[in-house]
Amino acid sequence: MMLRAIYDWVDERLDLTPIWRDVADHEVPEHVNPAHHFSAFIYCFGGLTFFVVVIQILSGMFLALYYVPDIVNAHASVNYLQNELAMGAIVRGMHHWGASVAIVMLFLHTLRVFFTGSYKNPREFNWIVGLLIFAVMIGLGFTGYLLPWDNKAYFATKVGVEIAASVPFIGKYIAIFLQGGDIVGAVTLERFFALHVFFLPAALFMLLGVHFILIRRQGISGPL
């Protein structure tokens, strides 16, 4: 009752109802509804990808409570948060395995869109936005892999940077830019951390926003 009164008071001034009514009341067709056709579960991959992204954002925020992006302390801080804190292994596990699961779900979602021809006119633009999201997610995976600063992380990044360095002409500069210097070291870890928690998530949020608005504007592609 109280809540209702508060909502009415705000709604009277801001006219909120139409905004969420548009989302709430739009009709979802039968052909994407797994309750009607089981095979429609393939339309769930996009939503599940978003769900994993939410898990990643939340677990990442909580990991940042303890993680230190510094080559002297990073490994010790990960070791501490995983082994000495209650549920540490679970929270880090969610972030670690979630990264892989997100890529898998994203891949399946892309394949669904491709094989149902949903990228065709008029949805070309959203297909491109989706591919950009894919690229950003790969970037998040690559930068996040370095952060625990164990041997696996260090050498994988070294090889990754060398691959970038083999691009003709500009490769050398890309490598130095990524490393922030001549070697994979203190500055590299700091950079990858900043990219992983600020730059790439910011890009991801913008792209996801566009992706969802376009879906709402254009609707889901019709049945095959």
């Binding site: 070294k158 090889v159 691959i163 130095i176 922030g180 210097g181 070697i183 500055v187």
Partner: protein, 165 residues
Amino acid sequence: MSKKVSRRKFLTYMLGGTAGFLGAGMLFPMVRFAVDPVLKKGGGVGFVDVNLPVNQIKDKPIAVEFKVHRKDGWYEPAEGETLTAWVMRQNGKVVALSPVCKHLGCTVNWDSNPQFKNEFFCPCHFGRYYKDGTNVPGTPPSKPLDKYQIKEENGKLLIGPVIKA
């Protein structure tokens, strides 16, 4: 002036120009800040005494670890950064090879793969090098291993920076 710029057009141009100024004004320092490492000249590394008498160097390559001081951003450990060189004699001459594979920067090891005796072997993509550092044709690397500059002083070996090809 025959072409008339309407008031609306003019204001739109002004808006675009101001947006450009605001964006550039904010971002220029930030971008310059971010790319600074690319534009900076790397500090050179001097010669280091690796504590190895020259007469102990034999034909078989041995891994020699030595410390150099290098500034990695703000990080400059007092004990220095450890590098490795494969040191050996070739036709009587001392040679120090860099262990960094020329394919994708993994680390090569001497004689580590039983299939390829007496070769440097890179485990990442199976790159191989002969003892003198020359890449085995048909394996992934396209260039021989880098050599370190070396000096001999008082019968001891000094290792310097990698010779840039």
